[in-house]
């Protein structure tokens, strides 16, 4: 193993007094022959060097004076103006022709921080309106799943209804004449967030929303709600409006196509400030399956009766079968009705809208509660931004610091090696 002695490590440690004596001698505070000899040695060493050339000294002095003058008038921020005494003396030093393009470390650091903060803002900031917009694809897929769940046995009318058909015609046999194309479009429309329907299940959606407006605007808002229900392919099941001098309230129950529930809610939110909102989802798959099974059973029974009728030979037997067939027709009609009712539950959503008239509603945006809420929101977003920025900056700073330390150590090593190589 090669042992490399540390510079100075092998020498005797100097006496503290020796160093003190040297310092005192060189400072001129000590007297005596030893002190004189140290001072003489220093003067001898200093006298060995030739003086600075007057030209260089003058030029360097002028550059410094020029710098000082620039600094005095606030033009000293020119870091790329080196003190170059004479051009011919340093041809080996590369000129920084494009040095002014070189960003300073502070500029780079500021740019990095700004970039990270902007990125954090983009990640965190809620650009979307609060809380209710999500992609419509999820919703449409779930609705389609429900439609598929109805199965081919029931026919396209019911499937279209569950998928959000706004209109469908039914024949006496329960076969659809066609599904509305708008049903599919509505199903693909942007949907509000709410209960997530499970694929393959038949589910009933519902919602309630409470809007706030001024007492004088309650009636107008209720009218707009009704108009909105119609425009969305639904209708107003019930409406009760009560207006007074300082207060007012309207309660409406809307029946809307399930596929348009999200869009309708978004439109309702645009009518007036939302005080409260909730959405419900009820699974009615079992009810639907029971109705379907009941229809299948009575249909099969009717088929059996018809086959028995064809084989009947006695008058009494034929009369009995006809009576049972008549009963069977009634049962089939009932089963169809029940199945349609369940499908109707799935394809339509009931929305309860409450419009509350409040004198303070007009200035709601200025209330203390609202202000505190907004301030809290700002603080949360700010903290999140800072957290994300710190999560990026701290490791980055550590890495940069490690690199800088390594670079510093490497440079020092190379410099010290120069001394050892000679």
């Amino acid at each position: 193993m090669k042992v490399i002695p540390f510079p100075g490590g092998g020498a005797e440690r100097p006496d503290e007094a020796w160093l003190t004596e040297l310092e005192a001698a060189l400072d001129g505070t000590a007297e005596g022959p030893r002190a004189d000899s140290w001072r003489e040695l220093r003067e001898d060493v200093r006298a060995l060097t030739p003086p600075m050339s007057p030209e260089f000294e003058r030029e360097l002095g002028e550059r410094i004076a020029e710098r000082s003058a620039r600094s005095a008038v606030g033009q000293s921020r020119d870091p790329q103006q080196p003190y170059r005494p004479r051009e011919q003396h340093h041809p080996r030093q590369p000129r920084r022709r494009f040095g002014w393009l070189r960003p300073t470390p502070s500029t780079l650091a500021a740019a990095t921080v700004a970039f990270i903060v902007i990125a954090a803002v983009l990640i965190v900031a809620p650009w979307r309106p609060a809380g209710h917009t999500v992609e419509g694809s999820d919703r449409s897929s779930s609705v389609s799943a429900r439609a598929d769940r109805l199965g081919p046995a029931f026919g396209p009318v019911e499937r279209a209804q569950v998928a959000g058909a706004s209109a469908a015609k039914t024949s006496s046999s329960g076969v659809a004449s066609g599904a509305s194309a708008s049903a599919v479009a509505a199903a693909n429309a942007p949907a509000a967030s709410g209960p997530v329907a499970a694929p393959g299940r038949v589910q009933q959606l519902g919602a309630s929303i409470s809007l706030t407006t001024t007492p004088g605007e309650v009636q107008a808002t209720a009218d707009r709600v009704s108009q909105l229900a119609v425009s969305e392919g639904g209708f107003t099941q019930s409406s009760h409006v009560n207006t007074g001098q300082d207060t007012g309230e309207a309660n409406l129950t809307l029946s809307l196509p399930s596929a348009k529930l999200s869009a309708a809610l978004a439109s309702l939110e645009a009518l007036a400030p939302v005080r409260a909102e909730s959405q419900t989802l009820q699974d009615i798959t079992n009810t639907y399956d029971a109705a379907q099974q009941r229809l299948n059973d009575v249909t099969a029974e009717r088929q059996a009766l018809l086959r028995a009728l064809a084989k009947a030979s006695t008058e009494g037997e034929i009369d009995s079968l006809r009576e049972r067939l008549a009963q069977s027709r009634g049962a089939i009609a009932q089963a169809h009705t029940a199945l349609r009712a369940v499908s109707q539950q799935a394809s339509t959503s009931e929305v309860e809208v409450t419009v509350v008239g409040d004198k303070r509603a007009g200035s709601e945006g200025l209330t203390l509660h609202r202000g505190l809420h907004d301030a809290g929101r700002v603080l949360v977003v700010t903290l999140a931004i800072l957290l994300i920025a710190a999560a990026i900056l701290v490791p980055l700073a550590l890495a940069i610091a490690a690199c800088a330390a390594a670079r510093r150590a490497w440079r020092r090593y190379r410099r010290e090696r120069v001394l050892d190589a000679r």
């Binding site: 100075g8 060493v45 060995l48 030739p50 360097l60 004479r86 003396h89 340093h90 410099r415 120069v418």
Partner: protein, 192 residues
């Protein structure tokens, strides 16, 4: 908070200095007048080349000027910073050149009209010159920093980027060897 400039380029990590020390433009001018010749002397003694010494001198002042706002004035005298910068620049110059320092030190001192005292001084300085040249570069630079920079022991330690104890050891060894070399050379002169 005062930022510490890079020790690689702009000086020692910490040098004890008056807390009121401040390197504004006036102080910088004053520092230039006081120290330019010493920095140049240190550089030319180390590099042995006038052009290179001028480069190093200019570079040292430039770097100090650019870093003056970042200097921790409470932790180092500007002169100590200046010599630390000059040392780094000189070592970089040596490394860049990859060759031995040239000797541009004058063989003959100024003419002193032949007096005995002057003659003795010429002989003595010639011995010092030869002794200095005989020192390893690592020891020579300590002597040069000490005498040209006129740095205190702690300032010397910071300039060398070593502990104060280590700097004292180096200085002791270098000066002892310089003394021995000088004495040996003078004895040879007497014998001759």
């Amino acid at each position: 908070m005062s930022a510490k400039p890079s020790a690689d380029d702009t000086g020692p990590r910490a040098v004890t200095a008056p807390a009121h020390a401040r390197l504004d433009d006036i102080a910088f001018d004053e520092l230039f007048r006081e120290s330019a010749a010493d920095v140049h002397a240190y550089a030319i003694s180390l590099l042995g080349n006038r052009a290179a010494a001028e480069d190093v001198t200019a570079l040292a002042f430039e770097r100090l000027y650019r870093a003056r706002a970042r200097l921790d004035h409470g932790r180092g005298a500007p002169r100590a910073w200046l010599f630390a910068i000059a040392r780094n620049a000189a070592l970089d110059e040596l490394r860049r050149r990859r060759r031995q320092p040239q000797s541009e030190l004058p063989e003959e001192m100024a003419d002193v009209q032949g007096s005995a005292e002057a003659f003795e001084r010429i002989v003595r300085r010639a011995s010092v010159r030869d002794a200095l040249a005989a020192l390893p570069l690592r020891e020579r630079e300590v002597v040069l920093l000490k005498f040209h920079g006129q740095l205190s022991n702690s300032e010397l330690a910071r300039a060398l980027d070593v502990s104060e104890s280590n700097a004292g050891t180096r200085l002791h060894r270098a000066l002892t060897r310089l003394r021995e070399e000088c004495n040996g050379l003078e004895r040879e002169e007497e014998i001759a």
